[in-house]
Subunit: 756 residues, 2 copies
């Protein structure tokens, strides 16, 4: 009897206790992706926050950070990006606490006790036994230093930045343009760092700051170049690196706090930002406010309590990464005034158009509309929407003009508040006017070929993926044109969306027939390219569907494809998969191709071009094979370790890809539907801005019960392996009935071709 | 006996007295060109000076000024350009003294007692009886205000600028981006004005200032937008106009002086510029230093004492105008660091390549080399040399890529210190890579046509003058390529320099046969263009050699020619006049064409395209007819009145054209020779940087004796109507023997074709 009562009470306890899941931000692990290829930024940020203070211990790391406590941290700078590749950007306004005499050449300190959570980073600098903690608001950061014995000092380096080039005009590196520092009082210092270059070879951007300490410093000095000037209050900008150091007296507290306002307009504006965002000295209050902002965002999607800890961490960290960038710099645009919002650090749309922006469209459609309107505004003021942008400068464009996809995706999903009329103008600018120069900044390179020949020929680099991506971009123009009643453009661009076929060569490789291959301007297939001239010989690389002539024969950006092979890219026709299947010789041949692709590891998990490919089985009526591929890829490559992201996160792209698949549905950007797959969670609830909830349930879900037997949408039987955005927006419930054997669910009806 | 002694003494007195001519800067009249079309800036400047403080009384005037004392002056701003057309630029950091209460909406004051001389401007503001005087150094201006009775005030407007657009994105207008002001102490105020747009639709530039008064102000206020804040020390940049006003107490002096340091980097740098350039409060000392700088430059060319006062004023004011722009902003480049000099306000090379830069090559070859190296540096850091540039932004390109001509001109004249190797790369960039976008910023618009068809077709605007100017630019590339031993390029571009013939249509007009006419991309001549659609009818404009379809049918920049007709442009083949004469049907037909051109007033004195045309008679062996035309044009159109310049001075172009012709020799930019004509002066001495003097004498010159009978060069008979740059550089003496009848001097030997 006693045992029964205890058991009953126990059961009762479990039933009535509120969910233990919240807050969800406890599941965010900023360290995921900080090792390996992820290049994740580990410091604190608010959602889409302009200021991202974090530890720098490697000048050539894209995040400024390498996960090795024996590599000394040399500073905590205020601006970073997350998940990028290529040359690094930012790393400006670097603060460093130290003990003892100021030493300009001090290399920093190895560290321990590193801890990071939502809106918080902490670490101990072993050299001086100083504990550093960071938190932040959108435009101001808050540092807390707890010193041990010795003379307390803080260095404010207005000259530092990441990835400084050796040569004055080395590509992708950052280069100094100017620097200035000014002691304002015995509490405050202001100044700026002006830098150009970086990954997008951008024109100069300036990061202004206004830093305020919570106690007066006793003495200070400033430096310019290699010269240090004790008690000299300012160093004007004469093109050299400047900075200041301040020492605190014996009677000062062991804990020194400093708040740093940041601006891209001026240091007075940085001061104003600081005063309006952090008007007090309560570190924990700022930390909590940041966590609340994150909680408000990520709790819009709730997963069921029974998900494993690892799943929760993967999912919520995935959402977190998706909302680090682009950054909201409204009111901080040094280039023009506009009533529209201003965002920067699109890094890059080539990556994020596929999953990040579709995910934002669900979580925060109002902000996604702001982002799209910002892209259109950039077209208005500068002439072209970006495909990437950082430091207030467009660039670089790796393939297509993918802002087109964001506009079309918003349009077909009925996202309100977007200026679609001007948006179409912006898309047409991409499609009609060549951008010129090296054609890396914006617009479509090789456009003169594409518009006259119907493909980009080998007289332009990246001719392969450009042709494919322009075909998708043109489909997007057709979709918007059709919706706006512009039939001439609809017909023209629908036709152009077939242009990928102009590069389809009838060759066989590894049992599959037909691949995207290079063609010259006269219409002849190109079989090989020159590679090297050595020892009097000229070597050639044969073009086959696995050829990768970059970066060995030609530069990274100079091959026929960008960061991929023909095996990968020949699966890239998201707007016409049925047409692709035809070209491949029908469903059976296509399935064989897909199987070969995955089994021979031609699939590259670490990059974006093949993001949709695991789901291509849907179009041959075999959604369960898609689910199988997806789960295999995730189980093999994603986890919660520091190297738990298999490639550059690219501003949250890999993370949002993961988050969608864990929920069990996946977008095809530019189209209004989502493909359905086996979820990871028994239940997912999407709380939308319009007040509607959409619930996905997977009944009987288990490791064995991984096959969808049937589905019920809002109480009715549902046998399509895809749903419409409208289904989600309207609210409702989708239930998968899971089982242990493959079924014929979803075999009959293919995803729609919206606009043909 | 008494009278004889007096006469002898008088003669002795005249003989031994030194020349009364100097200083030459007394002949500079800043008012010439301030009325009519000249658009001249009348305030003080040092040679090539970055800071040009001056009176503003019209926001839409290119110089900020209209010569009408009943139009109130509303401020004295620190940055201006001289002689430009189209939308205005600059007019930033505007100071205004006033008496009584500060009134934000005060419209300024009508004026009188206006006086301007070299390095000085003075005027009385009638409303308050305040006398304003301005002088300047390169980077700082010096204002002196003498007040009458009443409370003395000074307004510092950090939000003002010229030609503000009504709509946020109106073309050619300037638009606010930001503004900030900060009271530093009771002596000083700092801040900035950030603006974009203007004639070249440029990206944002920022003018920073640091202003210091010679006595403390008693009270102050600042404003932002429409709100005024008494005693509030600063207004941070939130995208609104800001400013400050300061009032001086009763015990303060009636004379208030203020020095304003300017920078394009920061206000601390502006302060540093101020401290290093004007470390004292002696207005007259700064004025004298400025005048000395001008004297040092213009006295390098000395004309004979017997020239008329009017001639002296025209000539030295001409030299003065030539050296106002471009401006030396070395150390003030907010975009990159470089050991090379940095110049801005090339406004525009399309105008100045013809005469201004050849004149600088004679007067100050070291600076000309700096300018050319700067253009090449801009190519290095931004991708293209400018054809025009202001506000740190290239643009706009009216026709060809004329930095090419500066490089070739320097090369064939053996100008030392120029990086010709990289210069050739920069020229090849223009010739090979289309600039994209609207093709107005830099590079060659329509290049894809020009390089595939051999001409720019009617699918591009300005196809006519672009084709002609590219042909000249290509000749220039050939000249440099040949000199550097690059024979492939030499041959290619020499051939392309004939491309103008591809638009030569065999039609007759007004007795002349053959004109540059529009052709479509299929190779068909175009006879008419659509003009208007009105009342159900479509109207057309027939293309004939006088047609001017802009700006009535199409926009100013959208016609077949830019700012000219076919009659004008069909004479524009500076690199192959013999070839042009052939196309025209030989010498007799060409003379008839020229006579018709001038007698029917098809010649436009007010613009640059026909600059060389009056001298084309040289190529049919009739140099005296060139001289006759030149003198007629000058006598009819140039004088020392306020409207004494017949067209926009365009950064000194009209002025340098005049100066050359008054000396009696005239350049053909891109070639090493000068054409010889009847001078205005009996003697001209050019003192060169290399220490050599070159003297031109015209013996027996008078109004009747205007024909060159013969010439002697360095003691030997000289019968060519042109000389080489080398003749000048080596020093020497050229004597014209003048007479009252035409002779056959110069009829035999034509100017050379350097590189064929």
């Amino acid at each position: 009897m006693g045992k029964k009562i205890v058991a009953a009470l126990f059961v009762a306890f479990i039933i009535v206790l509120p969910s233990f899941s919240q807050p969800y931000h406890q599941y965010i692990d900023p360290f995921i992706g900080s090792e390996g290829e992820g290049h994740i930024f580990i410091g604190p940020s608010v959602p889409f926050g302009m200021v991202k203070p974090g530890p720098d211990n490697n000048k050539y790391s894209n995040s400024g950070y390498v996960s090795d406590s024996l590599v000394p941290i040399f500073g905590f700078s205020q601006i970073h990006v997350s998940g990028t590749g290529g040359g690094a950007k930012y790393g400006n306004i670097s603060l460093m606490p130290y003990t003892g005499q100021f030493d300009m050449y001090d290399e920093g300190s190895i560290f321990c006790d590193e801890r990071a959570e939502t809106s918080y980073y902490g670490v101990k600098l072993k050299k001086w036994n100083i504990d550093v903690e960071l938190t932040t608001t959108a435009k101001a950061s808050f540092h807390r230093y707890v010193f041990s014995l010795g003379k307390k000092g803080v260095k404010v380096d207005a000259g530092a930045f990441l990835d400084e080039g050796n040569l004055p005009d080395s590509r992708e590196a950052q280069h100094l343009v100017g620097s200035e520092i000014e002691i304002v009082s015995d509490y405050a210092v202001r100044g700026y760092n002006r830098v150009r270059g970086g990954w997008n070879n951008g024109t100069a951007y300036t990061v202004y700051f206004y830093a305020e300490f919570d106690q007066p410093f006793e003495s200070f000095g400033t430096w310019k170049g290699n010269d240090v000037f004790k008690s000299v209050e300012s160093q004007a900008d004469t093109g050299e690196k400047t900075g200041a150091y301040m020492s605190f007296g014996e009677n000062s507290s062991d804990t020194v706090q400093v708040k740093i306002g940041i601006s891209f307009l001026s240091s007075l504006k940085a001061k104003q930002n600081l005063e309006s965002e952090i008007s007090h000295w309560n570190f924990d209050r700022v930390l909590n406010e940041g966590q609340n902002l994150w909680e408000e965002m990520i709790s819009r999607i709730e997963i069921d309590e029974s998900a494993t800890y690892e799943q929760k961490v993967m999912f919520y960290t995935g959402l977190y990464h998706t909302m680090l960038m682009p950054v909201d710099r409204t009111g901080e645009n040094p280039l023009w005034l506009s009533p529209k919002p201003y965002y920067d650090d699109f890094y890059a749309l080539w990556d994020t158009y596929r999953t990040s922006h579709p995910l934002l469209t669900l979580i925060t459609p109002s902000r996604q509309a702001d982002i799209v309107n910002c892209l259109i505004d950039i077209y208005k003021f500068e002439g072209y929407m970006p495909d990437a942008r950082s430091g207030n400068y467009n660039g670089r464009t790796q393939g297509g003009s993918n802002a087109d996809v964001l506009i079309a995706d918003a349009f077909v999903k009925g996202l309100p508040g977007v200026n679609y009329g001007t948006g179409l103008h912006a898309m047409l600018k991409n499609a009609n006017i060549p951008p010129g120069g090296n054609e890396e900044k914006e617009g479509r390179g090789g456009l003169t070929d594409y518009n006259s020949l119907g493909y980009v020929s080998t007289r332009f680099v990246r001719a392969g993926n450009r042709t494919l991506e322009y075909a998708l971009n043109d489909y997007c123009i057709a979709a918007v044109a059709k919706g706006l009643g512009r039939n001439g453009e609809y017909r023209r661009f629908l036709k152009q969306s077939d242009n990928w076929k102009n590069l389809w060569r009838d060759i066989e490789h590894e049992g599959s027939r037909g691949f995207i291959m290079p063609k010259d301007a006269a219409g002849n297939w190109v079989d090989s390219i020159q590679c090297d001239r050595k020892d009097g010989r000229v070597s050639y690389v044969q073009y086959d569907p696995l050829a990768q002539e970059w970066p060995i024969c030609v530069c990274w950006w100079c091959g026929f494809f960008y960061e991929g092979t023909s095996w990968e890219y020949s699966l890239f026709v998201p707007h016409d998969v049925p047409g692709l299947i035809d070209q491949c010789g029908g469903s059976n041949a296509f399935q064989k191709r897909l199987d070969t692709f995955f089994e021979n590891s031609y699939y590259n998990v670490a990059n974006e071009p093949s993001f949709l490919s695991p789901c291509l089985y849907h179009w041959i009526g075999r959604p369960e094979l898609s689910s199988k591929r997806v789960h295999q890829i995730i189980d093999d490559n994603y986890n919660i370790s520091r190297s738990g992201i298999p490639g550059n996160d690219d501003s949250g792209s890999m993370s949002s890809w993961l988050a969608f698949h864990m929920m069990g549905f996946y977008p095809n950007a530019g189209h209004s539907y989502y493909l359905l797959n086996t979820p990871y969670f028994k239940e997912t609830v999407i709380h939308q801005e319009n007040g509607n909830d959409f619930i996905i349930r997977a009944e009987n879900l288990s490791e064995n019960n991984c096959y969808i037997q049937s589905a019920i949408l809002n109480g009715k039987s549902y046998n399509k392996a895809w749903i419409e955005h409208n289904n989600i927006v309207a609210g409702g419930e989708l239930i998968f009935i899971m089982g242990s054997k493959p079924s014929s669910w979803g075999h009959e009806i293919m995803p729609p071709q919206d606009i043909k």
